[in-house]
Symmetry: C2
Subunit: 490 residues, 2 copies
């Protein structure tokens, strides 16, 4: 079959047109980090990128890396953090089903990893962002990106901001330029190591020896099929599968039809190529679902399709998005009053109230909610907000203020929503791809959203660039240690 | 590795100790149905069963088959149904991500399939069960098992009971004896066709030719490894994976530590054996989660961990269980009054109220709920129940009655909860196992909870025995059509 992802033997692949020590599929943050570490160890690398330019979804992203444990940037901002507290928090937000071994090494080596990123030339300004946007519109370098400072985590674990955002000077609203800054420096570092880059080159199938070892890929490059042979191993770093509707239908059907964050290269081909060679997967239903502009609901309340509150509005906006998508049938509304409305930025004003009412009853009727529920919800919220309390969901005191009629409602619909997949290949701490029996597939590595990484089922902004670069490096380092010709998996 | 599930070549497997046309793994409803159809077509079959007795989880189950479209039993009970309405309902409860092609053939051939079951000697009494237990304690043959007669489906699709329950005369409470009746007759039918049964024989790995065709299994039988060769094909019907904590951690972590429904053979080995040969999977996170005894909450209300209602209490108890497990953090409480308490059967009385209160406020305080929420919930419910309405979740009028103080609360915890997995191998309408590219793997079939079948993500009681027997038959029939030696996948 022409579009098959099944592995082929070296005989079928034919003589190799290109040979390198390490063949990397994808030039986003994970593939580029692997190329840097392999290149620094003196290995020849070749990066295959299906698009016409490098950087992948990483370059389109907000640019933040979820790091901590006391990084240089945290320290410069006066933030206290330890690897142990970071570990406790990441385990809490990614359980059940957390990948404890991977999270452990990620948290323990996070300080060093930040230094490595800085060593690649990525700039960070030592200032803490205190606004309410999901991504700073300023050049601030550090921010909360996971709800550490909100209920329930703030009560259990000392809160520390861990979103490390590269400094960008030309930010426009929603311009995402920190991702470009990050990738520009990582790619420049990799290029300085004289690895080979092949654009417009799509990996199609793995090449596998009869003993199961992966030794290369068959790729389509400018119209013809080529065999790219890897002396040491292949690193799959081609992104997730949010742009593959068949895979969504099989694994994450609630994402069908939702706005997607990524590139059309996020079609899961790397995942399927490895599965066809017996690789295991984890948490294929998991998704980040960034919901709305927090300024729309931080000062008001969020209600579900029957008018009940369901979450503390000051938690991480991705946690709100997951709750809406997976637990509330995909629908939620922000209820606001004039004071909230007047506080909105230009961006918030893009989302005018869909319904207005002289009071909560009138608003609820206009929205088609069940009789009287919205009034009960607002009265309960207001009564306790006046006392500085939120007994239902423990929204932080700074956001508690009784709403005053008239009221308006904004549906947090697709315009303020972006999703991408978190499920993928099962890998170990060295970024080796594991088969369904849990054993490494010789010669095969993966990192980034091609894998189920640090996030598991949960998420904090910056975890994809964070674990993508981290486990991309792990792959490069493990390949450097594995002697050519000897077992890659000692 | 000793426990590897990786396929082996025929050379490694060695000379075959046993040869048959069809090798079937598992003797539950799916494997037995495959044996019957293959046997009736004149094929030699061998069933490998890892346990010391046959029947698997099917024999432990409630015995109901989810069938419809106008079966003989429905007609005898005066129930009107059509394949089209059954299709609309099954699509509705299993979307998004429904397997439309499989559901289509299942609904269109459901009337014939019921006749086939009856033809195997399985008895059904032509009477409709009208009680509130999840499984009839009577010998009634037909019952609602999917919430067809409750909101939202009852308003959209003509409701028909589709749970077809084999007649059993010695039912004790929760004795599940209809499953035994079903399997006794299916197994007797298969045995009458002189297929071979090997108990205490666990399939360990698939045998795969160099061209990818599956031609047998390596099994462990009474302590030694044997090669069981299949002239035509292998049918995997070894159940789901709810008894494999590693797989739960990777795919369905919310089931960890929950009471499980099945046998310890439900360790996902069949799924992993096929994945190791490149098979695709679907909806691995999906689970049936039968929650509680409906009599505990039908007459009262269900509330979540903050005291809000979240569902119509008269819907299918499995839908309630899924809502609790996946959307409400695993916690829910039935709020009842003296009238409900006095109506409980002996079984209901096993679950005495965990908390009591002179009124809703006192009860809520005793339960540790946020101030005043339970009072607001009960007042809202009572006010509308007195008018015969449930504007929030549309519970049916017959169950609506204002609750009268004093009140009690029962946590719907593990004692009244059972889960099993619904995710598994991707198969087509002929029960052929598909690889990750969507192409059939030659010689490999699967049915029952080893596959993602009719349920997809949703569920109705009886869908596992229903699609297990149906697609087990499809496998047997497709194998019968495939000529020996010719391509099995024309």
């Amino acid at each position: 079959v022409d579009d098959s992802v099944a592995p082929v033997g070296p005989g079928v692949a034919g003589p190799a047109e290109i040979v390198a020590d390490v063949v990397i599929v994808g030039s986003g943050c994970a593939g580029t980090a692997a190329a840097i570490e392999a290149g620094r160890a003196g290995l020849e690398t070749v990066i295959l990128e299906r698009a016409g330019g490098s950087g992948g979804a990483s370059a389109m992203s907000g640019g933040s890396l979820y790091l901590g444990g006391g990084t240089a940037l945290q320290t410069a901002c006066g933030v206290e953090d330890t690897p142990e507290e970071m570990f406790r928090f990441v385990m809490a937000v990614t359980s059940p089903g957390a990948d404890e071994a991977k999270i452990d090494v990620y948290c323990r080596q996070s300080v060093e990893h930040f230094d490595w990123v800085v060593g690649c030339g990525v700039p960070f300004k030592a200032s803490l962002y205190t606004g309410t946007f999901p991504e700073p519109l300023t050049d601030d370098g550090l921010m909360f990106t996971g709800g550490e400072n909100a209920w329930p985590y703030a009560e259990q674990i000392r809160a520390a901001p861990r979103g490390h955002v590269p400094e960008a000077h030309d930010k426009r609203p929603l311009g995402h330029t920190s991702g470009v800054i990050l990738m520009r420096h990582l790619i420049a570092t990799a290029e300085g190591l004289s690895g080979r880059w092949m654009l417009d080159t799509q990996a199609r199938r793995l090449v596998r020896e009869s003993d199961g070892r992966v030794t290369g890929v068959v790729a389509r490059s400018e119209g013809s099929e080529i065999h790219v042979r890897a002396r040491r191993g292949v690193v799959l770093a081609g992104g997730g599968f949010v742009f593959n509707d068949d895979m969504l239908r099989h694994h994450a059907p609630r994402l069908l039809g939702k706005p997607k964050l990524g590139t059309d290269g996020d079609d899961g081909r790397c995942i399927r190529m490895a599965q066809a060679a017996g690789a295991g997967v984890r948490h294929m239903e998991a998704a980040e679902a960034a919901y709305g502009l927090p300024e729309l609901y931080l000062g008001g309340i969020l209600v579900n399709s029957v008018g009940q509150r369901f979450i503390n509005e000051d938690t991480y906006f991705g946690r709100i998005g997951q709750a809406v998508m997976f637990s509330q049938d995909g629908r939620a509304y922000a209820i606001i009053d004039d004071a909230v409305n007047e506080s909105l930025s230009d961006i918030g004003r893009f989302y005018p109230a869909g319904w207005v009412g002289a009071d909560a009853d009138e608003l609820g009727q206009a929205m088609g909610l069940p009789d009287g529920v919205l009034r009960a919800t607002v009265e309960y919220y207001n009564r306790h907000a006046a006392e500085g309390r939120d007994p239902l969901f423990h929204k932080g005191r700074r956001w508690l203020r009784p709403l005053e009629a008239p009221l308006g409602a904004i549906e947090l619909a697709d315009g303020a929503f972006m999703a991408f997949t978190l499920g993928g290949l099962h890998t170990d701490v060295h970024a080796r791809v594991l088969d369904v029996g849990g054993e490494p597939i010789p010669g095969l590595y993966a990192a980034g959203r091609t894998t189920s990484g640090v996030p598991g089922w949960g998420y904090c902004s910056g975890m994809s660039l964070g674990d993508g670069t981290f486990f991309g490096r792990q792959a490069g380092r493990h390949l450097a240690k594995a002697g050519a010709g000897s077992s890659l998996n000692p």
